[in-house]
Symmetry: C3
Subunit: 155 residues, 3 copies
């Protein structure tokens, strides 16, 4: 049977520290005992600092995709901090991927794939892939390149 | 009894091809056997090409409203491809309508009505109308004028 | 026991009129008899007019935070108009806070706290605080500085 914690080990991933709220909100909230709502997460690095910069001017789109992957790792850190295991999540329901980019930027799905590909690697090509939007924002907190919120179904 | 498929026939609507995912996501996902989450959809034309352009510069707001209507048709195509029938949907829960427009644009609800009016025509003035936000983005994938994601309740 | 209506009285808050829909949508929708989806709300003043302006150019961030608080009051007005009581809401599940600001603005969480702090004051520091994203839009309807949509759990 597919186990997200074992998969995580195999991939040799390193989690950043789980982020503290930057305002009056909860990073994670369970609804009905079976749905996990994760607040908008930014790309926290292993040292706790944020990746910053706008895609298309300060950052390349490759940087942006790596930032989206780092957002995914930050979300994993929040899940692990709350449940002790990534296996607590049964599947991804929905990802809302927000890119801080120049107004002429057109490849948001490429960038948000940095998150989605990691979720697929951890929870599998079916359970790790949910509904999604990938869109361009006017700005994001602390000038982070990517912010992502998500809903998961718990096991 | 109101039937969305009959209503669709009466309206003489033509569906575009159901879009393939542009990234690592599912266009449609069912939760708890009764809620349908649709990923962000763009305006796919009958020939499979996307309507492109920014409202307020490359496109007029009338173009934008027609694009939102085309997004709604694209969502209907996804529903039909997944369930074989529009009658599978009982009602609209929530529409998140995102407009790619110039920063001074102020009539996002007018544009997203292009989608909402079609949903109301297909599923009725009560069941076809849900909660909604209509907002302006910094940019959208492929420079499409409108992207919409939605949640429906299945019958 | 904590009662949101009593808390509301103690705080001496004044509600604006509950907003009518600006398009084809319902301001509030109940799902499964226990979840309340509120459409995107803007900052309606006691006289029914909207607070307008972009944060970072036409408005300061203090104005923006006050606008977010006014959005929260407008959401309370919608809840009261639909249920007759704020106590109908058991807890906040999710807040999506959208700020209309200049592209270089970085303190969206500060602004959306204007809403979240009011929810916490009305429903308490635990039940009144949910998951959240606070992000910057390209534009908002009628040039309002803040639009917020939310999901609540009913009692």
């Amino acid at each position: 049977m597919y186990n997200a914690d074992e998969q995580f080990e195999k991939l040799g991933l390193v989690l950043p520290p789980a982020p503290k709220p930057l305002g009056v909100y909860k990073p994670a909230l369970v609804v009905d005992g079976k749905f996990l709502y994760l607040s908008g997460h930014g790309p926290v690095k292993t040292d706790g600092a944020l990746i910053k910069g706008r895609v298309g001017s300060q950052l390349t789109e490759v940087d942006g995709k790596l930032a989206a992957r780092q957002v995914a790792l930050t979300m994993l850190a929040t899940i692990k901090a709350n449940f002790g295991s990534l296996h607590a999540v049964g599947r991804v329901i929905k990802v809302f991927g927000m890119v801080n980019c120049t107004p002429d930027y057109e490849r948001h799905p490429y960038i948000i794939n940095g998150c989605s590909e990691l979720f697929a690697a951890v929870w599998g090509a079916d359970d790790g892939v949910g509904a999604r939007s990938a869109v361009g924002m006017g700005s994001l907190p602390d000038n982070i390149p990517v912010e992502i919120e998500a809903i998961f179904e718990l096991r």
